[in-house]
Structure formats: C-alpha cells, structure tokens
C-alpha cells in the first residue's frame, strides 16, 4: 500500500485553538499517510479533531505544528492547484443557481473553457442521478438530492482527491445507505482518493478500505483498522459476520480509550 509516495501525508501535526491563556488542543501529534486511490474514513466522537484534520488538509485552516503534504505540495499550494474537491455536511448550494449552474461553479471560478462546462456537468449529474433535475433550484430538491448535487459539483473539475466532511450526517438512515452505495460506485468509476469524515461506525466500515479511529481531548489517532471486506460492497455486505466483527473492533477501540481516560 505504501510503496508509492502517499497522496496525502500528515506528519506530527498539532492544532491549538485560542491563545496562551485559554487554549484548546484540537489535534496532537497526528501522523497519517494515504495512498492514491484509497477510501479512508476518519471516525470518532465529537471533539476528536476529525473535521479539523480534514480542514487542515484542505487549507481551510492552518496547522499550529507539523507538516502536511497534499499530492506532494504544501496545503496552500495544493488548494491553489485545485487538487481536491470538498463536500460539506450541509450541501452549501447557492440558492440562486440551478443544479446545473451550481455544478458549473468551480469550472467558472477556475476559468475553464465555457464549451467544456456543459458536457462535464452533464456527465457528473448523470453519475449522481440528477440529470432530470438540472434546471431545478436547490429548494426544489430533497436533502439527499441536494447533497448529490454538491458531490457532482465537487467532481465537476475532476480533482484527484475528494474530501468529505460528514456529507450524509443530516440524512435519514435509508437515504444515507443508498447514498453510501452510490458513493462507492462513484469511487470505483472515477478512481478518486476519498477522505471521509463520519461519526457513524457502520458507515465507515461499509465504505472504507481503511478506518482511522480518533479520540478526543486531545484529538489524536487511537488506531487504524484495515477493512478487508471485498469490493464491490452490496446490501449483503452489511449482513455479513465480518462486517459486524470489524464494527466491533472499531467500537472496542473507542470504548477502551474512554475507559482508559476515566
């Protein structure tokens, strides 16, 4: 897995919020290496720093200590190179743009040739199953459809990396499971590297090739679990004994950490 250079490399990274008088250690000495094409999930309870780590990688926030490399570059350079697409927990669609125009937004910002917008966006909307809704405004879509539109937007400019911050956290269980399947399809057709933040253990086990289990106060990596469930994963995967074993492994890690702290 690690023979080629990692696409994301995090080395002894710490993030401290606040000043000398009142400070919170959001991340402490976190090191992590992700290979091209992996699907890695960051799992842990609130306050474990999983979203913070994602935002440091995306250069939406700055690390206090340590080094990060994204596709071989410092995060700010990687951001300016448009190496990643970011999907927020809220769909963050622009109300005044139709689904199609929303998906075109990064292409417009990045100055891509206008002739390329439509074919590119059509393809992405077809992939997320929104082709028939291209001229709808965000308020006309359900929460699941809005999130699909935001995934299409993140993929429209074909970044190598997809950073997803609890993208399905606000969806109901049924919609979430369907979106999980669709995301795996997208991952397998596009060969993106996906870094996925969630607090759902079952979601992480179902999706990932590797799970990074994080614990709070201070935020750090407790363990990394390889998920050896074969792809493509199906509804039956969720019912297999191995699925439950892996869920238990992750859950036990989190439990030990909590017990260890008391």
């Amino acid at each position: 897995m690690a023979e080629s250079t990692p696409i994301i490399a995090v080395d002894k990274v710490s993030k401290i919020y606040g000043n000398a008088n009142a400070s919170t250690v959001a991340l402490k000495d976190v090191s992590l290496s992700i290979a091209k094409g992996e699907f890695v999930s960051l799992v842990g309870p609130s306050g474990c720093g999983k979203s913070t780590l994602l935002r440091l990688i995306a250069d939406l926030d700055k690390a206090t200590q340590g080094t990060l490399l994204v596709n071989g570059h410092a995060p700010d350079v990687a951001r300016k190179n448009r190496e990643y697409g970011f999907v927020f927990q809220a769909p963050t669609l622009y109300d005044w743009r139709t689904v199609e125009r929303n998906a075109e937004l990064p292409l417009e910002v990045m100055g891509r040739a206008k002739a390329d917008w439509k074919p590119r966006v059509d393809k992405m909307l077809a992939m997320v199953g929104l082709r028939d809704f291209h001229d709808h405004y965000p308020w006309q879509l359900s929460g699941g459809m809005q999130q699909r539109a935001s995934i299409a937007r993140a993929l429209s400019f074909d970044p190598a990396i997809l950073l997803m911050d609890e993208p399905f956290g606000a969806l109901d269980e049924f919609t979430r499971e369907r979106m999980n399947m669709e995301l795996l399809d997208i991952w397998q057709t596009t060969h993106k590297t996906i870094l996925f933040v969630t607090h759902s253990i079952s979601e992480a086990v179902f999706l990932s090739s590797r799970i990074v289990v994080m614990t709070p106060r201070p935020g750090r990596i407790a363990t990394v679990v390889d998920i050896d469930l074969p792809y493509p994963r199906t509804f039956e995967t969720r019912e297999s004994p191995r699925f439950f074993e892996l869920m238990t492994v992750v859950r036990e890690t989190l439990k030990e950490e909590f017990v260890g702290h008391e």
């Binding site: 939406l60 300016k80 448009r82 970011f86 963050t92 622009y94 005044w96 910002v109 308020w139």
Partner: protein, 283 residues
C-alpha cells in the same frame, strides 16, 4: 390581476366545495375590505358628528373626482400631476438606489470606511426632511436647476438609506461554508464578490427597493410643498388644504391619488422582484 390568479391557483386548495364564481371569490376580499372601511368612515362621521370640512362623505370625494374643470375632469388633472410627481420620484429613486448600492459595496469592501461613515449615514435620516426640504428647493432654484431636480434630490435622500443598510446586510449574509467553498476553489476576492456576495444580496436589495419606492414618492411630494412649486400632486394637496372649507372632497381626492401613486410604485418593484428573484421558495 393575472398574477394574483396564478398565485391563488397554486395555493387554492382552501377554495374547494365553494359554489360562487371564481372571479367573485377572488374579488370578495377587496369588496369586504372596502365595505368595512366605508362603514367605519361614515359610521364615525355620524356618531361623532364630524363636520364635512374635517371628514367629508365618501360620496363628496367621489363627486370631487369627476367634477369638470377647464382642463378636464378633476381625476384627469390629478393624474397628470401624479405623473409629474412620479417622474420626479423615479429620477430620485434611481439616483438614490444607485448611490446607496455603491455606498453599501464600498462599506462592505473597506471596513474602515464603514466605521467612519456609517454614523453620518444614520444621522442623515434623523434630520427632519420637512425642515431641510425648503432649503434644498430654494437653494437649487437659485442655482438655476430645473424645478423637478430639487424634488428628485429629496426623493433620492430618502431612497438611499434603506438601500445602504439592506444591501450591506445582504452582502454580509453569506454563510461561512459558502465562503469556504470559494476558498477551496482558490477564488479571487473579485470572484467571491461577483459570484457569491452580489447574488446573495439581491433579495435584500428588493426589500430595500420596496421601502424606497414609496419613500421616494413621499420625498418628491415633500419637495413640492414649499411655496413656488407649480406642478405635482404635492401642489394639489396644498391647494386642497387651502380650499378645504369650501370644497371638502377635493383634498381627499388628492390624498387618495397620492396613495395610489405610492401603491403603484410599490407594486412595480414587487413585480420586478417576482420576475428577477426566481430562485426563492414560493410563499
């Protein structure tokens, strides 16, 4: 009218089971409101024995509208004056909105400017406009400006303020993740402004323009009140109040015409909003 029809169609489930004709059902609200206002009007006149010069009969007002004059019936004369006032207000409205918008954009982009100038912008609206209107009218008249321009300036003065405040709020109304999204694309400040802040401010702009539309009419009318003005619905209001004892219906005819003018201005902006802001949930 067509607009209210489509609106009622989309929300008209509550009409089911009624047997009255559709047009009557749609008009019934206007009828009920008018009858109620008329009852209160004539009722209080009868009960409190209010004389005609203080509150004329509705019939007297109606009669004042259709009375003939050398220049045609009164309603036509008033309509012409209202059109003149509308012109003054429109010039002022345009001037005020454009200025207000530009000020809001400057304030949003340069925080020190906002800190320094916002107190003056707010202070400008605490000055009683009725006190400085004559100064503007007389002063500009001496400078040789056309008579309508001073009225437009007063209209602009009342227009720009709601635009500054609301557009500023609109430009700042974007949420954090919407901004971070732009950051993730490495967007320039100009792109963030053009593709995010500006469109986000449009609904706020229309809220302001609806206030400003009526305010600009009031501004123009206030500008017409000082002695020396010859045209406009404000002049007719002055004439009406001078002859009120002899002709009590006329003053109210001018007031109603002024009110209709304000309502028309509001309706025009609301219509433009409906055409332009297509992305909002239907209310």
């Amino acid at each position: 009218m067509t607009n209210s029809v489509t609106l009622n169609e989309s929300t008209g489930a509550d009409r089911q089971g009624r047997s009255m004709p559709r047009w009557l059902w749609l008009l019934s609200g206007y009828l009920i409101a008018f009858v109620l206002v008329a009852l209160i009007w004539e009722g209080s006149k009868a009960i409190f024995e209010i004389p005609d010069y203080k509150l004329p009969h509705l019939a007297q007002i109606a009669e004042a509208f259709v009375r003939p004059t050398p220049k045609g019936p009164v309603w036509l004369v008033l309509l012409q004056d209202a059109a003149y006032t509308a012109f003054e207000a429109l010039v002022g409205f345009t001037l005020g909105s454009v200025t207000g918008f530009a000020i809001a954009v400057l304030f949003q982009r340069y925080l020190p400017l906002r800190r320094g100038f916002l107190p003056y912008v707010i202070a400008s609206q605490t000055v009683p406009i009725i006190a400085i209107a004559p100064m503007i009218v007389v002063g500009m008249g001496r400078l040789g400006a056309p008579p309508w321009l001073s009225k437009s300036i007063i209209a602009a003065y009342l227009t720009f303020f709601p635009v500054v405040i609301n557009v500023l709020r609109g430009l700042e109304s974007v949420d954090r993740d919407a901004l971070l999204l732009m950051r993730s694309y490495a967007a320039t400040d100009n792109q963030i402004f053009r593709l995010l802040r500006l469109p986000a401010s449009v609904p706020y702009l229309f809220t302001a323009l609806k206030i400003s539309a009526t305010a600009s009419i009031i501004g123009a009318i206030i500008g017409e009140l000082p002695v020396g003005s010859t045209r406009g619905i404000g002049v007719q209001i002055v004439v009406g109040s001078q002859y009120n004892t002899f002709n009590p219906g006329f003053l109210w005819a001018t007031i109603i015409m002024a009110a209709l003018l304000g309502m028309a201005a509001y309706a025009l902006v609301a219509l433009a909003e409906k055409r332009i802001v297509k992305w909002k949930r239907e209310e």
